[in-house]
Amino acid sequence: MSSRTRLLLAWTGGIALTVLHLAPWFEPRPRLVLGVLPEELAYRLGWMVLAFAYLVWFTASVWREEDGA
């Protein structure tokens, strides 16, 4: 994958995560998902799993070691 493609993916991922965080369409109801977690908390934890995956990919692919070497 070229560095340009990686940068494009990084920006797209960052913007997508920001939109999903703002989530103006999401109105949590007071019910439990799978009988365990409130809808709001489940959504936020799911978002954090995505953000964590993004960070792992970002620090493996986009991170330029020479920036801090």
């Binding site: 703002l22 109801r29 007071p30 908390l41």
Partner: protein, 488 residues
């Protein structure tokens, strides 16, 4: 001797012993004292950043917010921080570490002064860093003093508790500098993280007992008795524009804490920083989910708390459900959270006074004496913080809430200063001055110094306007100085 005094005594003995051990490992030169010889490895770096980042507000203030606003308190704070902080570590911390090493800079202000070739920029940064950090330190002293006074039923007066916390932090910071503060942060971070994880297991069992126990039982009880706590409040920080502005503030502000940036400059290598970025979201979930749940469950157990009283929910829950040993650990956890930030702030402001303020005044001074000067400045700062706390009254706390967002006005300078070769000293100066000017004007429009989290123009928080103005100032100032250069 009461269990609280014994527990606090053991904690103090441990942090002093760790500080002493770090002092024996430390050489006597300024780079060693102020930045641990730029040798913080992955684990210590991570714990130093995490411990410094998490203040007593997270342990005590966040449960209070969750008590009032429910589970949505988690979504408004933790997720965006888990993404924003690691990204700022990459975009600002990583090149700052490299440039600090190349330029021989030991403080954040010194780094940007040398990078931009302007002592004025260093002094300006030092001024804003200090303006925003001192009130913060005073609120930390207040948190520790109240915790100790309450835990000892008033036997330890507030003046003595606040003084004691400052003196202990000062002693181990002066003994071993950055290495001592980083090592003690490992102990402190483990203490407060361990406490909240242990406490939430106990609370969940107790709160959910009538509904079959466990997490699902506890949440079923919340859904049955207080379903509003599982919904998102309509106004305040949850209004769309305020929500977006707050996300901007909370994800960008941490990198602009001078004590956080100094720790990043002390990283041993880029790899340590990379692993820290990956581990940060996990640690945030482990800390934030329990503290929010303490507030939500506390709303079931202690209904009727209002205003500032909601901050009592942390101690009320501990008092009702925890064993005497864990109750003592609750007090120690709050002290650990306070001191893990306070020590870093004392060290970094002391180092900036030594390096950035003395440089223009004493350009031919002996650098080898900078360690002693750093220690003396730390003592002076501790005295100022104590005085500010004792005599400043409510205005100090108003300033602290203004400071949290105010740091964001420095982010364009911190970012462009290490990432854009076209960025100039004029750009930095205009960015900082314009950003802060507009931030305070937006604050005024929102209602004054108590309105940092209230909507300002067009429904956005003051921080959003300050940030936009700082970006505009950075570009305008740099463009103007480049045009001037071309014209010459």
């Amino acid at each position: 001797m009461t269990p609280v005094v014994l527990g606090v005594g053991i904690y103090v003995a441990i942090v002093l012993a760790v500080g002493l051990a770090a002092a024996r490992r430390s050489a006597r030169d300024p780079a060693e004292y102020f930045l641990a010889g730029r040798g913080l490895g992955t684990f210590v770096l991570f714990m130093a950043l995490f411990g410094t980042n998490c203040t007593a507000f997270v342990l005590v203030g966040v449960p209070g917010q969750a008590y009032a606003n429910g589970i949505a308190t988690f979504g408004v704070n933790a997720p965006i921080v888990a993404l924003g902080i690691p990204l700022t570590f990459y975009f600002i911390g990583l090149p700052a570490r490299r440039l600090g090493h190349e330029l021989g800079a030991l403080t954040p202000a010194e780094l940007y002064a040398k990078r931009l070739g302007s002592r004025a920029v260093g002094l300006l940064l030092f001024g804003v860093f200090t303006l925003y950090t001192l009130p913060y330190m005073a609120t930390a002293v207040q948190g520790a003093a109240v915790t100790l006074s309450t835990a000892t039923d008033g036997a330890l007066p507030r003046w003595a508790g606040g003084l004691g916390v400052l003196v202990v932090a000062l002693v181990y910071t002066s003994l071993g500098g950055m290495r001592a503060t980083a090592w003690t942060n490992v102990v402190q971070g483990a203490l407060f993280l361990g406490f909240v994880l242990a406490a939430i297991v106990v609370y969940t069992r107790a709160v959910g007992a009538e509904y079959g126990g466990g997490l699902s039982g506890a949440f079923e009880r919340v859904a049955a008795e207080r379903p509003d706590l599982l919904e998102r409040p309509a106004g305040g920080l949850h209004a769309p524009r305020a929500f977006a502005s707050w996300g901007l503030a909370i994800s960008l502000t941490v990198i602009a804490f001078p004590h956080m940036l100094a720790r990043l400059m002390a990283a041993k290598d880029a790899r340590s920083l990379r692993i820290t970025c990956r581990a940060y979201p996990i640690a945030l979930v482990l800390l934030w989910v329990p503290v929010v749940l303490i507030g939500v469950f506390g709303a079931l157990e202690f209904p009727g708390l209002e205003g500032r009283e909601v901050d009592r929910v942390f101690s009320e829950m501990a008092g009702r459900f925890l064993s005497p040993e864990l109750s003592v650990l609750a007090v120690v956890a709050v002290l650990a959270a306070v001191m893990s930030t306070l020590d870093a702030q004392l060290l970094t402001l002391g180092s900036m006074l030594t390096r950035d303020v003395l440089d223009p005044l004493m350009p031919k001074r002996r650098e080898s004496a900078d360690v002693l000067r750093g220690r003396l400045f730390a003592v002076a700062l501790a005295a100022v913080v104590y005085g500010l706390w004792w005599f400043g009254g409510a205005s100090v706390f108003r300033l602290a809430s203004v400071a949290f967002s105010g740091y964001v006005t420095l982010v364009p300078t911190l970012f462009l200063g290490v990432r854009w070769t076209g960025f100039t000293a004029a750009g930095a100066a205009l960015s900082i001055l314009l950003g802060n000017g507009v931030y305070f004007a937006a604050l005024h429009a929102a209602g004054g110094l108590t309105a940092a989290m209230e909507p300002s123009w067009c429904g956005f928080l003051p921080v959003a306007w300050g940030f936009v103005a700082a970006c505009a100032g950075a570009w305008l100032g740099s463009a103007a100085s480049q045009l001037q250069r071309r014209g010459q």
